[in-house]
C-alpha cells in the first residue's frame, strides 16, 4: 500500500511533465515521432538502469558502467572490423555484437569477483574499474572512434513500426521484473541488500549471487552499448562519460535506497522516463543543455527528499512502540 503511494509520486511527476509539455508545445512535443525518439534515447540509459537497480538493491553500486559502455562498443566494433574488413556486413556484425556483450559479461564478472572474494567495497572497486575500462577503450585505437557504416539494425531498425531498441528495452524490463519478483536471484538481491549477514546465515550463497548481479549489469551494459554504437554507426571511446550518474539518479528517483534492500524496476523505468522527458521538454522549450543540468539536479534532490519524508511518515505510523 505505502509502496504503491510512494511510486505514485515519481509517476505523478512524469504525467505532470508530459501534460505541461503537451499544453505548451502541442505541435512538437505531442507527436509520435517525438515520443518514439525519447523512448529510443531512453532505451540505452534505461537498460543500464535496470541492471543498476539490482546492484543498488543489493546495497552495492557500479560506477564503471559508463566506461564499460565505451569499452564494449569499441571491442564489438573492433571484432566487426577484424572479421568484415573496412565495411563489415552480415555475420561479422552479429559476431561483433556478441563479442561486445561478452566483454560486458567479463567486466561485470571481474567487478563481482573483486568485490566478493577480496571483500572490497563496490564503490572502490568500480571506481578503479571506471578508470581502467575507460583507459582500455581509449588505448585501443589511440582515442579514435571506429566507424561501422552499415551497423544500423539495433539503432534504427523496426518491427511493425516499433523501433528495435524500444522492443529490446521492453523485453529486458519484463524479464527484470520477473527475475526480481519471482526468482531466487531477485529475492536474494533484496535479502543481501537488506541484511547481508542475515542472508548468509539463512544459507544464501552471498558471493555467488553478488557475482551474478554484477555480471547481469555487465550483460545489460553490453546490450545498451551495442544499441548506442548502432544509433551513431560508430564506437566512441569517450562514449558514456557520466552515464553512471544519470543511471544512478534514475534508480534513486524511482524509489531505491542506496542503503540497499529497496527499489523496483517499475520505479526505475519511471525515473528514467522522467529524466528523458525532462531533457526533451527543456530542449523543446529552448532551455540550453547547460541549464538543463540545473533542472535535473533540482529534480533529483526534490524527488529523493520527498521520498524520504514519505518514508519516515510511514515509519512513524507503523511503529507501535514497545
Amino acid at each position: 500500500m505505502s509502496k504503491f503511494v510512494r511510486q505514485l509520486l515519481p509517476f505523478g511527476s512524469l504525467v505532470l511533465i508530459i501534460c505541461i509539455l503537451s499544453a505548451f508545445r502541442p505541435d512538437t512535443f505531442l507527436t509520435m515521432d517525438n515520443f518514439l525518439n525519447v523512448l529510443r534515447r531512453s532505451s540505452v540509459y534505461g537498460i543500464i538502469a535496470i541492471g543498476m537497480t539490482f546492484v543498488i538493491i543489493s546495497a552495492g553500486i557500479d560506477l564503471s558502467v559508463g566506461s564499460m559502455l565505451a569499452l564494449c562498443g569499441m571491442a564489438g566494433a573492433a571484432v566487426m572490423e577484424a572479421m568484415g574488413g573496412a565495411n563489415p556486413q552480415g555475420a561479422s556484425l552479429v559476431y561483433g555484437t556478441i563479442a561486445g556483450i561478452g566483454v560486458g559479461v567479463v567486466c561485470g564478472f571481474l567487478n563481482g569477483v573483486l568485490i566478493t572474494k577480496l571483500r572490497l567495497q563496490p564503490f572502490i572497486v568500480t571506481l578503479g574499474a571506471m578508470s581502467f575500462y575507460r583507459g582500455i577503450a581509449l588505448v585501443m585505437r589511440d582515442g579514435q572512434p571506429i566507424n561501422i557504416a552499415d551497423y544500423k539494425y539495433l539503432g534504427e531498425g523496426s518491427i511493425l513500426a516499433v523501433p528495435v531498441s524500444i522492443i529490446i528495452f521492453a523485453v529486458i524490463t519484463a524479464a527484470a521484473i520477473f527475475i526480481l519478483r519471482y526468482m531466487k536471484l531477485g529475492r536474494y538481491t533484496y535479502a543481501i541488500g537488506s541484511n547481508r549477514e542475515a542472508a548468509f546465515h539463512a544459507g544464501v550463497n552471498v558471493d555467488l549471487n553478488l557475482i551474478c548481479i554484477y555480471m547481469f549489469i555487465g550483460v545489460l551494459v553490453g546490450i545498451a552499448s551495442m544499441i548506442q554504437v548502432s544509433r551513431t554507426v560508430s564506437a566512441q571511446p569517450t562514449a558514456g562519460l557520466g552515464t553512471e550518474l544519470d543511471v544512478i539518479a534514475a534508480v534513486v528517483i524511482g524509489g531505491a535506497s542506496l542503503a540497499g534492500g529497496q527499489g523496483t524496476i517499475v520505479g526505475t523505468i519511471i525515473g528514467t522516463l522522467l529524466i528523458s522527458f525532462l531533457r526533451n521538454g527543456c530542449t523543446l522549450l529552448g532551455i540550453s543543455t547547460n541549464a538543463q543540468l540545473i533542472v535535473i539536479g533540482l529534480i533529483i534532490v526534490i524527488a529523493v527528499s520527498v521520498d524520504q519524508l514519505a518514508r519516515s511518515k510511514g515509519k512513524e505510523l507503523q511503529s507501535t512502540g514497545s
Partner: protein, 510 residues
C-alpha cells in the same frame, strides 16, 4: 487496581514525576494515562512485557517522541521537551541497549562530544582538559576506564561505562538504562550493578528497564509494572517478589513456567567429534539424541556460539567430524548445513537474523525456498499462505505476512526467525540465546516450542546464559570454558552452583 507510589516518610524528594502521559501511534494506543514517580537517588525498575510501552514512555522522557497528553516534572519544575537536546539539558540521559557512541573516537572525545572544552585558538579543542576531566569524573565514581582508549576496542561493558560518563559529564540527574545487561558477561553485570549503586549513592535517579527480573530484586528500590500501555502496579521492591511482578506483568498466574519433559530420547542423531577452531574451540565432542534437548552453558566468550558456527559451516577454519544419523557429513557453508538438515538460530536477530525492512513472509521463506518447491519460480500467493499458516501456528502478532519485519515487537521478531527454521524441517536445531530480550510470555512460548520440536524427534542444542532456563528445559547440560568442554551433566542431577563453578572457576592444573 492502579496505584502509584506516593511520597513515603523519609523517602526523600521526588526527582521525576510523569503524570497522565498518553501517546497514540496511528490506531495503536501505546500509552494511556501513565503516571510515574521516581524519587531522587533511587533505582526505579520499569518492567513489562514487550509492547507494554516501556520504551515509548522512556522515549517521551528523553524527548524523542512528544506525548499527546500529560506533563513531566523534573525537580518540581514542569518541563516540556521538544527534542532530545532539551531533555539532556533538563538532566535526563538515556543509555540504550546498543551503545550509542562514535566508534572511532576515544572515550574522552565521546564523553565531551558536542560539548568540547575550547582550546587556546578558536575552533580548537583542548584535548588535555578533555582527558583530565574525563579521568577525574571516572575517579569520582570509581570507574575503571582509560580516557584515551578508542571506543571500537572496548568491551560492551566498558562502552556502557563510557556512556554513563557521558551522561555524568552532562550533569544528568536521571539516567535511564534500557536492557543494559542483555549483552554483558556475568562479571560485567556485577560491575554494572556496582556502578548503578554508586550512582544512586551520589543522588542520581536511575530508571532501569530489564527483562531479567532476578536482577531487579537485588537492585531496585521501587518497581513500576506496565501492561498494555497502562501502569498496573507500582510499589517499593521490599514489598514485592518475582512471582508477584510476573503476575502483574502478564495479568495472570504463570503456572508451570517450564514445560514438563516427557519425551523418550531416541537414538543418537548428532555426533560431534574433535571439533577445533584455532584457540576459540579446542577438541569439543558431544552427542545429541533424537528428542533430546541439550543445553550449553558458559560465560560470554567461552566459545559456545563458535561451536555452533563451526558445525553450521560458517567458520571455514574449523576442523572435526560431524555425523548426523550415523552418517559423516562435511559442511562448508550455511547452505550445506541447511541441506543436511541443520538449523541455526543466531543469537542476534537484528544483526544476523532478520532482513528488517523486508516482508515477514520473505523472512520466513528465506532459508527454505528450495524446500517448498520454489527453487525456480516463487509463487507469492503460495508463499504468503505458508507464512500465514506458520504465523498462526506460532501466534505471531503482525499486521499481515506482508508487513515489514521491523514493525514487529522483539518477541514476535524472534518467532519470525523460529518460523523460518520450522519451515526447513531440520533434524538438528541449534538455538543460540533464543529468549534474549523477549518478554516472559514469549519466553514461555519458546520453551513450549522447544519441547514440541523435541517430541517430533528433533535433536536440539540450546545455548543460553540464563541457567534457570537451561535447568528448566533441558535433559543434559554441556558446560564450556575457554573453548573447552568442561562438563557434561544430567540436568536432573545438577545445580546452578555446579554449572557456575565449572563455567567460571579455573582448575589449578590448567
Amino acid at each position: 487496581m492502579i496505584e502509584t507510589a506516593q511520597e513515603k516518610e523519609g523517602e526523600g524528594r521526588i526527582g521525576l514525576r510523569m503524570e497522565g502521559i498518553s501517546k497514540r501511534f496511528g490506531p495503536v494506543q501505546a500509552l494511556q494515562d501513565v503516571n510515574l514517580t521516581v524519587h531522587e537517588g533511587t533505582v526505579h525498575a520499569l518492567v513489562g512485557e514487550n509492547g507494554a510501552g516501556k520504551s515509548t514512555l522512556m522515549k517521551i522522557l528523553a524527548g524523542v517522541y512528544g506525548a499527546d497528553r500529560g506533563r513531566i516534572e523534573i525537580d518540581g519544575k514542569v518541563r516540556s521537551f521538544t527534542g532530545p537536546e532539551k531533555a539532556i539539558e533538563a538532566g535526563v540521559s538515556m543509555i540504550y541497549q546498543d551503545p550509542d557512541l562514535a566508534e572511532h573516537l576515544t572515550v574522552a572525545e565521546n564523553v565531551f562530544l558536542g560539548n568540547e572544552p575550547r582550546g587556546a585558538l578558536p575552533f580548537m579543542i583542548d584535548n588535555n582538559v578533555m582527558v583530565n576531566n574525563t579521568a577525574e569524573l571516572a575517579e569520582n565514581f570509581h570507574f575503571d576506564i582509560e580516557p584515551g582508549a578508542v571506543v571500537a576496542e572496548l568491551s560492551t561493558g566498558d562502552c556502557q561505562v563510557a556512556e554513563i560518563l557521558k551522561a555524568l559529564a552532562r550533569k544528568a540527574s536521571i539516567i535511564v538504562m534500557d536492557e543494559p545487561t542483555s549483552s554483558l558477561s556475568e562479571s560485567e553485570v556485577e560491575r554494572l550493578f556496582e556502578i548503578v549503586r554508586r550512582l544512586r549513592s551520589n543522588g542520581i535517579s536511575v530508571i532501569y528497564i530489564s527483562h531479567r527480573l532476578e536482577e531487579i530484586v537485588g537492585l531496585a528500590d521501587e518497581v513500576t509494572v506496565l501492561r498494555d500501555g497502562q501502569v498496573v502496579h507500582s510499589e517499593p521492591m521490599s514489598k514485592l517478589d518475582i512471582a508477584t511482578i510476573v503476575r502483574h506483568m502478564v495479568g495472570r498466574e504463570l503456572t508451570e513456567f517450564f514445560p514438563a519433559r516427557d519425551v523418550r530420547i531416541g537414538e543418537t542423531r548428532v555426533k560431534i567429534e574433535g571439533l577445533n577452531s584455532g584457540a576459540k574451540i579446542r577438541d569439543v565432542s558431544f552427542e545429541v539424541g533424537a528428542g533430546e534437548i541439550v543445553g550449553m552453558a558458559g560465560l560470554v566468550g567461552a566459545g559456545r556460539t563458535e561451536v555452533a558456527r563451526a558445525i553450521f559451516g560458517i567458520d571455514k577454519k574449523a576442523t572435526g567430524k560431524v555425523s548426523l544419523d550415523g552418517k559423516a557429513v562435511t559442511i562448508k557453508s550455511p547452505g550445506e548445513g541447511i541441506a543436511n538438515g541443520i538449523a541455526f538460530l543466531t543469537e542476534d536477530r537484528k544483526r544476523t537474523g532478520l532482513c528488517l525492512n523486508l516482508a515477514c513472509s520473505w523472512n520466513i521463506t528465506l532459508a527454505g525456498l528450495d524446500l517448498i518447491g520454489m527453487s525456480r519460480t516463487i509463487s507469492p500467493a503460495k508463499e504468503n499462505g505458508i507464512a500465514e499458516k506458520l504465523g498462526r501456528q506460532l501466534a505471531i502478532k503482525w499486521a499481515g505476512a506482508d508487513a515489514p519485519a521491523e514493525s514487529l515487537s522483539g518477541g514476535n521478531q524472534q518467532k519470525l526467525v523460529i518460523a523460518r527454521w520450522l519451515l526447513t524441517e531440520s533434524r538438528f536445531m541449534i538455538f543460540d540465546e533464543p529468549t534474549r530480550g523477549i518478554d516472559v510470555g514469549a519466553k514461555k512460548e519458546v520453551y513450549g516450542l522447544l519441547n514440541k520440536l523435541a517430541k517430533e524427534g528433533k535433536a536440539i542444542l540450546f545455548i543460553s546464559s540464563e541457567l534457570g532456563e537451561l535447568l528448566g528445559v533441558t535433559d543434559r547440560i554441556l558446560v564450556m570454558r575457554r573453548g573447552k568442554l568442561v562438563g557434561n551433566l544430567k540436568t536432573s542431577e545438577t545445580s546452578q552452583e555446579e554449572i557456575m563453578h565449572l563455567a567460571a572457576v579455573e582448575e589449578a592444573n590448567e
